[in-house]
């Protein structure tokens, strides 16, 4: 990129920053207030925590597509992973704190379970629980207690997209009743919990997979 173009980018960025700051400082408070709507419909959502209600009920369709994005990224990443033969031998060197890992991982798994269970009525839920499970796998890997993944077998592939397929199955069943993702109020809590359990497992595997399919092979202890 030549100097003139770089200067133009810097200048444009400065101008954009100025305009954006001026625009948001001058912005009046909007007329529509979604929080009141969320609060009004919370009792019919099947959960009591507003964020979970938005994430899995009011805007559950976003979440369905988002899980697809994650699964898709993993498929795209797997298409890039073959060059194991291009990689060099597993790197030697000291593993990172295996003792800490042995203590930390059971704690992480327990907290994932807690986050999943409590997501219905306080902060937490499938995303955080899945992320914590994935973090546990990463810690195990860094401590040389868990190998990097190579090509996934069929059962692992099923685990990776199982949460998405379960979510789709629930969506399809509800759509067959007339409306996409319309949870009957008396079943909403149960169905949302079912979806969240599937998502926790799959999100954990997917997020861990993003790391473990990509990571350096490390020799196990």
């Amino acid at each position: 990129m030549n100097r003139a173009l770089r200067a133009a980018v810097v200048l444009g960025a400065g101008l954009l920053a100025g305009l954006l700051v001026a625009a948001i400082l001058a912005l009046p408070v909007p007329a529509v207030r979604l929080p009141t709507l969320v609060a009004a419909h919370l009792p019919a959502s099947g959960v009591t925590h507003p964020v979970t209600a938005v994430l899995l009920n009011f805007r559950g369709y976003d979440t369905l597509l988002e899980v697809a994005v994650l699964a898709l990224a993993l498929v795209g990443l797997l298409a890039q992973s073959p060059p194991r033969e291009l990689m060099h031998a597993p790197s030697p060197g000291e593993p990172v704190l295996p003792l800490l890992a042995r203590v930390l991982v059971p704690f992480l798994i327990l907290s994932a379970g807690y986050l999943l269970w409590s997501g219905a009525h306080r902060p937490g839920g499938a995303f955080q629980a899945g992320a914590v499970l994935a973090a546990a796998a990463v810690v195990l890997h860094l401590a040389r207690l868990w190998p990097a993944w190579d090509r996934p077998g069929r059962s692992l592939r099923l685990g990776l997209v199982g949460g998405l397929l379960l979510f789709l199955a629930v969506a399809a069943a509800l759509l067959a009743g007339g409306t996409l993702l319309r949870f009957p109020p008396q079943l909403a809590g149960t169905l949302i919990l079912l979806i969240e359990i599937g998502l926790t497992v799959s999100l954990g595997l997917l997020l861990a997979g993003l790391f473990l399919f990509l990571a350096e092979p490390r020799s196990l202890r």
């Binding site: 920053a17 700051v21 979604l34 976003d62 291009l86």
Partner: protein
Amino acid sequence: MSSGLVYAVVGVLLFVLGAAGMLLLPHLLRKILAFNLLGSGAFLTLVGLAQRDGSVDPVPHAMVLTGIVVAVAATALALALLRRLHALSGRTQLADESADE
């Protein structure tokens, strides 16, 4: 000035910083880092602006959770491509545009 407004302003500044970084920095890993800054800036603006009157709005919270997962998915894919490119050609930058054909 409320907390929300402070973070909304910080958010747009982060966005502009990240966008400029994506355009100006040649190393692909820097571009990926810059993208993450840009994304965080947009998330911060979304929540901060919605809560500039001091109230709490769960709708943007759910949107940002979605956005964070999308961002990590994109980052992982970008890193996979970068590592593949590096393994095949030793490059960590994109070739100049004029060299494509």
